[in-house]
């Protein structure tokens, strides 16, 4: 197991290195003069030159990449182009908010989604299965911003929940809780459809296995067969699904945070884009990708811990 973890960690490092290079290349080498963007159009050539020197843009690209990566790793993330504020505290604070929302969503959404998937699978072909499957399909077709706006229109006023979730920067979980409900509910819909569909497929697959018939034929009650045998095996792929859905959640949250004005990383990212604030954009991207990669790592390790064939076989 130790060797497996080490190998996965090395792989994570390599992926992050490649991805950081990709982020750097995208943000640095595509057209557009950064200094022109920062200083505006009416500025003289001298000021532009000074700005380029100041940002180290006179250095060759590989040198700039390693300087940037080194600075990032040592915690020196620089200042935002647009607000001149220090990037690291800003990103960290927003990351905390986003994680709070994501965590809350996973906590509520994943059990519901798995539950619905299992119920659908156990009633395959019946009305309840068709209902769940059709509902999941409909929700998949609704973009997050449509779901979010609909929920605001339908629920916000009736339940007395804030439609605008612009919480204070230092809000604790208890203070932020009412503002979290609607965004989390919206995000849950994203998870719900996806996780429920895949869970259903996994359980149906498992129900076809020979051991299920054996267990039933030897007289085990159906409840025991399902809880002790089917679900335990069907949950293995579900773990992977949950990790993958975390990636979906990241994309979904960017939109949802903008629907609800929730001060998370996603909204900061759209702000950075509208101002063409490249260092801020780079920092947000790297942090997000790291989170995504870590979620995948955790899923892989859990999977291996639960499934001896993986850790011994390879």
């Amino acid at each position: 197991m130790t060797a497996y973890i080490l190998r996965r960690l090395a792989f994570l490092g390599l992926t992050m290195l490649l991805t950081s290079l990709l982020i750097f290349v995208i943000t640095q080498l595509l057209p557009g003069d950064v200094c022109r963007v920062i200083l505006g159009r009416e500025v003289g050539e001298n000021a532009l030159e000074a700005c380029r020197l100041d940002l180290g843009l006179d250095q060759p690209a590989p040198v700039r990449y390693f300087t940037w990566l080194g600075d990032f790793l040592t915690g020196n993330w620089g200042n935002s182009y647009s607000t001149d504020a220090e990037i690291r505290p800003l990103v960290m604070e927003r990351l905390g908010n986003s994680l709070m929302l994501a965590g809350f969503t996973m906590l509520v959404g994943v059990p519901i989604a798995i539950g619905l998937g299992v119920i659908a699978a156990l009633n395959e072909g019946k009305a309840i299965d068709n209902g769940i499957s059709l509902g999941a399909l409909a929700v998949v077709g609704l973009p997050e911003f449509v779901t979010g706006i609909l929920l605001i229109e339908i629920l916000a006023f009736r339940l007395g929940l804030p439609a605008n979730s612009s919480i204070r920067e230092t809000a604790t979980f208890a203070e932020a809780f009412p503002s979290l409900i609607l965004p989390a509910l919206t995000a849950t819909f994203v998870l719900l459809a996806y996780v429920a569909r895949l869970t259903r497929a996994g359980v149906i697959e498992e129900l076809k296995q020979a051991y299920v018939r054996t267990a039933e034929l030897k007289g085990l009650p159906r409840r025991t067969v399902i809880w002790r045998h089917v679900l335990r095996n069907a949950m293995l792929p579900t773990i992977t699904v949950v990790a993958i859905s975390f990636g979906w959640l990241i994309s979904g949250l960017v939109v949802i945070e903008n629907v609800f004005n929730y001060p998370g990383l996603g909204r900061l990212m759209v702000f950075a884009i509208s101002r063409r604030d490249l260092p801020l954009l780079q920092a947000i991207s790297l942090i997000t990708v790291l989170g995504f990669a870590l979620a995948n790592l955790v899923a892989d390790l859990l999977y291996a811990a639960l499934n001896p064939r993986i850790r011994i076989g390879s």
Binding site: T15, L18, G141, E144, V146, I149, L150, W248, V254, R276
Partner: protein, 297 residues
């Protein structure tokens, strides 16, 4: 002798003729009501995208100031927004926006992705290794994040959105194609073609490509539905197509501030997006069924 045998095999594989084969597939696709409905609505939207300007009673940015904020009526089926623009006309005209962005974007991604996937799977070796590691690092970024990163650098515009869709989906298509290539590459009919000295290009396009097409059709339909999603989400975030274009996501975004006065300006484009995405999803589901790939995700 050898070439005669090959010709025979090719003829056999295409025996029922393309037209006939197409109709039998179409019939299977339309058998289930949900698949038929999805297919028909998708086609309906395609028709609207093509002839929309003929159907729209008003221009996309024509302002009928006297009717501003009017609800749905005989004169304005979907109502009028705060600026006095006819929502029905804008939704019809916006169909073309979505189809050019998502449709052409998907088409380009499929063409480039298929070529790369075929080449990568067939050649193998360092080219395959390098390309796949590169795609791994691209896919380590969630799709929307990659899209936003590219838009942040390129600046928001119609061309940027198109470019983003192509870039985001090439690796996914290429991977699907490559995996099919790997699974058929070692089949005996490919071996036979190689032993007979057929050129690589001929093997790739005449022998391997037909085996890839079913998976590719399903993937293309799925990609198209995600591309609609992506393009309208970017429009909603204000970093995609810019005003005053009647792109649906952008329309939803613009209508948000006045939702209490003109809710129809928000609900009709939102409904159009949802209906199209669900229909294309059903179509993709139907294609999976037609090609007997039901068991796979």
């Amino acid at each position: 002798m050898a070439s005669a045998a090959t010709a025979d095999v090719t003829k056999q594989s295409a025996a029922p003729g393309w037209g006939q084969r197409f109709f039998s597939l179409a019939r299977t696709l339309l058998r289930r009501p949900s698949h038929a409905l999805g297919t028909l609505i998708s086609l309906l939207f395609l028709v609207i995208a093509i002839i929309g300007p003929l159907l729209a009673p008003y221009g996309a940015n024509e302002q009928i100031v006297a009717d501003a904020r009017d609800g749905p009526s005989a004169a304005h089926w979907f109502g009028v927004d705060t600026l006095g623009r006819d929502v029905y006309s804008r939704v019809l005209l916006g169909t073309r926006d979505i189809f050019t962005l998502a449709g052409i974007g998907t088409l380009l991604a499929v063409l480039i992705g298929t070529s790369l996937g075929l080449l990568s799977g067939y050649r193998g070796g360092w080219f395959d290794e390098l390309l796949m590691r590169f795609f791994d690092s691209v896919l380590a970024l969630p799709a929307l994040l990659l899209a936003l990163l590219l838009l942040g650098t390129l600046g928001p515009s119609r061309q940027s959105v198109l470019f983003v869709i192509v870039i985001v989906y090439i690796p996914i298509v290429a991977r699907v194609v490559r995996s099919v290539v790997l699974s058929v590459k070692t089949r005996s009919y490919i071996e036979a073609a190689r032993v007979q000295g057929e050129s690589s290009a001929r093997i790739l396009f005449r022998e391997i490509l037909p085996a890839v097409l079913p998976a590719l059709a399903v993937e293309a339909a799925l990609r198209f539905s995600y591309a609609i999603f992506l393009a309208s989400s970017l429009g909603f975030l204000g970093v995609g197509v810019q005003p005053p274009s009647p792109e649906w996501g952008l329309m939803v975004n613009e209508a948000r501030d006045a939702v209490s006065q003109t809710p129809w300006a928000l609900y009709f484009p939102a409904a159009a997006i949802s209906l199209l995405v669900i229909s294309v999803n059903l179509l993709a589901d139907g294609l999976k069924h037609v090609f007997q790939m039901d068991g796979e995700r």
